[in-house]
Symmetry: C2
């Protein structure tokens, strides 16, 4: 089939212009005499790619000067292991707020040297809400508070309607997993101690993670750890403590550059509002044929899980969608049903095509 509208949750759709550039560069990178995949990370060509990418990330996300930007191999789960190692000392309490599958996964990355406090959880509610800030049981001297800004599977996102997208944690640094919502709106980074995002949703391909960290936190002793797991060592080595995933970094750079060219985070904020409203309206106006169970105040603009009233029609829905040029809609095995991931690279026209198909499917199966 030709290129479809791809609603995959991650790895996810990339802008076609980025893929075409990667295709053009595949055999030869500029005047290097080799592919970008084949050249040394310490050569002038790749060093330029790396420097430009950091500059563009700083522009796109309005990163303040007192924050470092690291490009770390692996995904967000790896950072969930490195963050406690770097920022919490043995015996210290770490506060976690759990609002979905990935927030829960983060707990599995802690070792017994730390004292875990789950300050709030919406698990009893099936992860359909975010506990009110007043109900959080925070620890006064916790090493940090960890939240998941957007839950990719459960479709739950800290939205202004909830109160504030960045909860107030007073003097305790707020650490946020922004993997699936980074760059979808302007955020005030100064409200966070650490923001991290696996690239494979909004920033590029899987295999590299952007970690934005307030520099004073890098002075913390943390726990004994491998040199490779030390964020400060990474910073001192320009994120090249060992050979970094160069192609992934390069593709991240192309994607960030594309977002800047398109108008930056305020433009993607506007588009995310338009796309998510189209889709939620189609669900809510379906008379129960489709259903999304998330508290409307915290419905994700990036990942929209939904269910058919008659689940025996799931396969027919998916195969019909595929015929209509819409792929990647099968829900995560944890929840079942459907899920449409509508990251920055998904055009409004793609969501419109999905909404049209959903209406047509309902009309013929209602």
């Amino acid at each position: 089939m030709a290129r479809a509208y791809n609603f995959s949750p991650g790895p996810a759709a990339l802008p076609e212009v980025v893929l075409r550039q990667a295709q053009a560069d595949m055999l030869e990178w500029g005047d290097a005499g080799a592919s970008i995949v084949e050249i040394s990370h310490r050569g002038p060509e790749f060093m330029q790619v790396a420097a430009q990418t950091e500059a563009d990330v700083r522009t796109l996300l309005a990163v303040p000067d007192d924050y470092a930007v690291l490009f770390v191999p692996g995904g967000a789960t790896t950072q969930q292991a490195l963050i406690p190692l770097n920022f919490a000392e043995a015996g210290q309490v770490v506060d976690y707020v759990v609002t979905g599958h990935w927030g829960k996964t983060a707990l599995k990355q802690l070792t017994p040297a730390l004292r875990l406090n789950v300050a709030a959880s919406s698990e009893a509610d099936g992860f359909r809400s975010i506990p009110a800030r007043d109900d959080w049981q925070l620890t006064r001297d916790a090493a940090y508070v960890h939240i998941t800004a957007n839950e990719t599977i459960h479709g739950v996102e800290y939205r202004p309607a909830w109160g504030n997208p960045a909860p107030d944690t007073r003097d305790v640094p707020l650490v946020a997993d922004f993997s699936s919502s980074i760059a979808s709106e302007p955020i005030d980074l100064s409200r966070y101690g650490v923001v991290y995002a696996g690239a494979q949703k909004n920033l590029g391909p899987v295999g590299i993670t952007v970690v934005i960290v307030r520099r004073d936190l890098l002075e913390r002793a943390g726990q004994p750890r491998a040199h490779m797991f030390d964020y400060t060592a990474q910073l001192q080595n320009d994120s090249m403590l060992n050979t970094p995933p160069t192609w992934n970094w390069y593709l991240l750079g192309l994607t960030v550059r594309w977002m800047l060219d398109e108008g930056g985070t305020s433009e993607f904020d506007r588009r995310s509002n338009e796309k998510s409203r189209l889709l939620y309206d189609a669900i809510d106006a379906s008379g129960g044929f489709y259903r999304n169970d998330v508290d409307p105040r915290v419905r994700s603009r990036m990942n929209v899980p939904f269910f058919l009233h008659d689940e025996s029609r799931n396969d027919a829905f998916l195969s019909g969608a595929r015929e209509a040029g819409l792929i990647g809609l099968k829900g995560h095995r944890v929840l079942g049903g459907m899920r449409a991931s509508i990251y920055n690279a998904m055009p409004v026209a793609g969501v419109q095509a999905l909404v049209d198909f959903m209406k047509e499917f309902r009309d013929s199966h209602g």
Copy 2:
């Protein structure tokens, strides 16, 4: 410039046929309706890529059934951190044999919970040799013995002339970093407990590492660690504990398939002999104009560091080489001088072109 002969140490040259395939697949993968970079790692298309890659790795490297094959995000240095966490308990001794820069880097990945014993080191010798096996001070009940099969910077490799490529460590498992020599010759994996190799030299692009581990070692308790850092959890999840670096994995698969098509490890063994002999002969026959200082019994067939007698001509050598279509020859900053990395993707013709240039340069500057 057009595609040159690329002697880069890693990221390194890839077979052109692999790059052309990646280029062709960049916008659409088979009938998936999307690029291989954009599709879910849990979808049928990528699951097939992953399964085929493991099958091909097992064939190429003759992996015995009682060994697991893991595909882990990041590079070899990350494994140097994970191996002690998985295979050694707090308080246990771990034996390391240090024969170059990367063997030394491995020591920095250990935490104080373990007792490090450097069983042998050639550092006093400038890492130009491998200490005789009889001089190793091994620990009877060590958790494992770690060696670096090939030192990429210092150009030192365990060769049969040294005695045996796989030193006898009795009942203590031998752990070997094969990053820069994997698949360059048939090896008897049953002599190793763990063999690991960052992909970016002989196996594909940077960003993924192949870890081959004897299954019984996975039953060891190791040290408290993040779920993400647990090899057994990776195995139980088909190396998809989180979203793996899919494009890197796919390119690794293409590269392994190419090696099988070319005749497998015995054919690359033959070519490695031919290529390395060409180059060392040119150096040794230069009347001191070029120099390689490594003990001839352990000279690497993959990485050939060499020095000009008159180092003031280094820049002229490098720019002349570039004009002749030969790139990536600048030595690592640790050693200076030159280095030619001649991995599996480097054809004999490329080494011949280098040798011809070296002779010409010597004739005009001798």
